[in-house]
Amino acid sequence: MVHPHPASSSWSCGLSLVILALLLLSCERIEPVRQAPEMGAESVVLTCEGCHTTRAYLRRLAIDDGSGGGGGGG
């Protein structure tokens, strides 16, 4: 029976921790959905039409300029 070398085991454990830490750090740097303004804050887009319609476009415009849309007329 072959036993793992004690030093090898602790090295492997350490490496796993480092990878886990890196993953957590990188995940933090990707903004979650709710903070992705250009994608529309309130919805999860699961269709092409979720972006490629006039309505979705206007909604994104309203979010981008912070005006909340509306106005104009006449």
Partner: protein, 442 residues
């Protein structure tokens, strides 16, 4: 034409595509445009929609040096803007449009057979296939960019006018005259048909509310032939007599000039009497110079010229027309210099005044004015609006293409080492040597 606003080009004006076009919606966006289904992309991207979008459009999300996601769309994405640019796989993917896709691959709209044929001959080659790659690359990279895909006729405006949906990505069985046909065929056909030139009326067919397809009932997807050397050789082109029950015995004009080879005098094309002045072009150059303000560059002008028919289409009805309207085409000897191609050794063997079919037909034109002002016209005066004699001799003479006109133009044509090359190219079209003594006291 005025380009569409960016949002008009891209977005569909409904909640779902199925509301617009249920048939193509059933096929699905990804089937034609490529990319990854958004549901799949979103599941793979976990909770970041930018990454999901990147996956859906099949481009790699980018990160900066700090590992922060860069929210910037790359120029090249994995999806196809115009799936019909690969029609064999995308429009015929499930055998949907097999016959049309196969035909269209050889159509005049796709292949521009006539133009290719003349490019090869002027450059000294028997066929376009024999031309050097440098010339082909230039031609296919610039001249053919609006000739055209399925989508650029049936979904959007052509690329040549910056695209944009016709009606919210709804497939149009019949292309739109203004947004499709004259978007490409605008400077000549479009302007003529709409009467945009000062002093002209619109084409009578336009005044009656007809569009291109009223006359053009030939299949624009082609007939499978690959040996055409001119668009005028295509089978099934419109002929006036398809609709108009006219004959050589209708009136004196027809009796003397009916274009069937049996008239009392020489046969004229219908356009000679029934066209108004039309667009002519000079000095087209490649490399975008044609669209620049280069003072020696491309220009358009309005003219009307009757010349000899030099078309070589033996089985075509127009072959019997001896006198036709001719248009100056903008083919210049050094026209391809921007592609690095300078040589057109046979340039002067081929006319730059070519057979024309102006799309601005009227029953009464300056050439037939006598029939309007004197409905009781007779042999005594029927010729007065056209023959080069009598009280309108000078005015009428300006309707013909004389060698003197070629002489006056040759210095305006750029790129010639010897201006007489222009004369040699066009002498067969000029009327000097062949106009009847009964027509001409000039």
């Amino acid at each position: 034409m005025v380009p569409l606003e960016p949002f008009e080009k891209v977005f569909i004006n409904a909640a779902t595509y199925a509301e617009i076009d249920p048939n193509h919606a059933a096929v699905g966006c990804v089937t034609c445009h490529g990319g990854t289904e958004p549901v799949v992309a979103a599941s793979e991207a976990r909770d970041d929609l930018w990454v999901a979008m990147a996956k859906a459009h099949e481009f790699e999300a980018e990160y900066d040096d700090q590992g922060v996601l860069i929210r910037r769309k790359p120029e090249v994405k994995g999806v196809l803007r115009d799936p019909s640019s690969q029609a064999e796989s995308n429009c015929n993917g499930a055998g949907c449009h097999a016959q049309i896709v196969a035909l269209n691959a050889t159509s005049m709209h796709t292949q521009l057979w006539g133009e290719k044929h003349k490019i090869a001959l002027r450059a000294g080659y028997e066929s376009y296939e024999e031309c050097p790659q440098l010339l082909k690359d230039g031609y296919e990279g610039e001249c053919t960019n609006c000739h055209t895909t399925c989508g650029q006729c049936h979904v959007s405006r052509p690329n040549g006018v910056h695209g944009g949906f016709l009606d919210s990505h709804k497939f149009q069985r019949t292309p739109d005259m203004e947004n499709n046909c004259t978007a490409c065929h605008g400077s000549r056909v479009g302007n003529d048909f709409s009467g945009h030139h000062e002093g002209n009326r619109p084409d009578v067919h336009q005044e009656q509310g007809y569009d291109c397809f009223f006359c053009h009932q030939e299949d624009l997807h082609g007939d499978g032939r690959t040996d055409y050397t001119s668009r005028y050789a295509v089978e099934g082109l419109p002929q006036c007599v398809n609709c108009h029950e006219l004959s050589a015995s209708d009136n004196l004009f027809h009796e003397y000039h009916w274009p069937d080879g049996n008239s009392l005098e020489e046969g004229l094309s219908c356009h000679v009497c029934h066209s108004q002045p039309y667009t002519n072009c000079l000095n087209c150059h490649s490399g975008g110079v044609w669209s620049s303000s280069d003072p020696e560059g491309y220009s358009e002008y309005v003219d009307f010229r009757i010349g000899r028919n030099t078309g070589e289409w033996p089985n075509h009805p127009v072959a019997k027309e001896e006198w036709v309207t001719v248009r100056h085409i903008p083919v210049i000897k050094d026209g391809f210099r921007e592609w690095g191609w300078w040589s057109q050794p046979n340039w002067s063997d081929f006319e730059t005044w070519e057979y024309a079919s102006p799309h601005n037909i009227q029953r009464f034109t300056p050439q037939t004015e006598i029939a309007l002002t004197n409905p009781a016209y007779s042999m005594g005066d029927c010729w007065m609006s056209c023959h080069v004699q009598g009280p309108h001799e000078e005015e009428n003479a300006r309707r013909f293409l004389w060698m003197s006109r070629l002489d006056s133009l040759k210095s305006s044509v750029t790129g010639l080492s010897d201006p007489d090359e222009y004369i040699r190219a066009n002498r067969r079209v000029a009327v000097d040597d062949s106009i009847s003594q009964y027509w001409n006291r000039h």
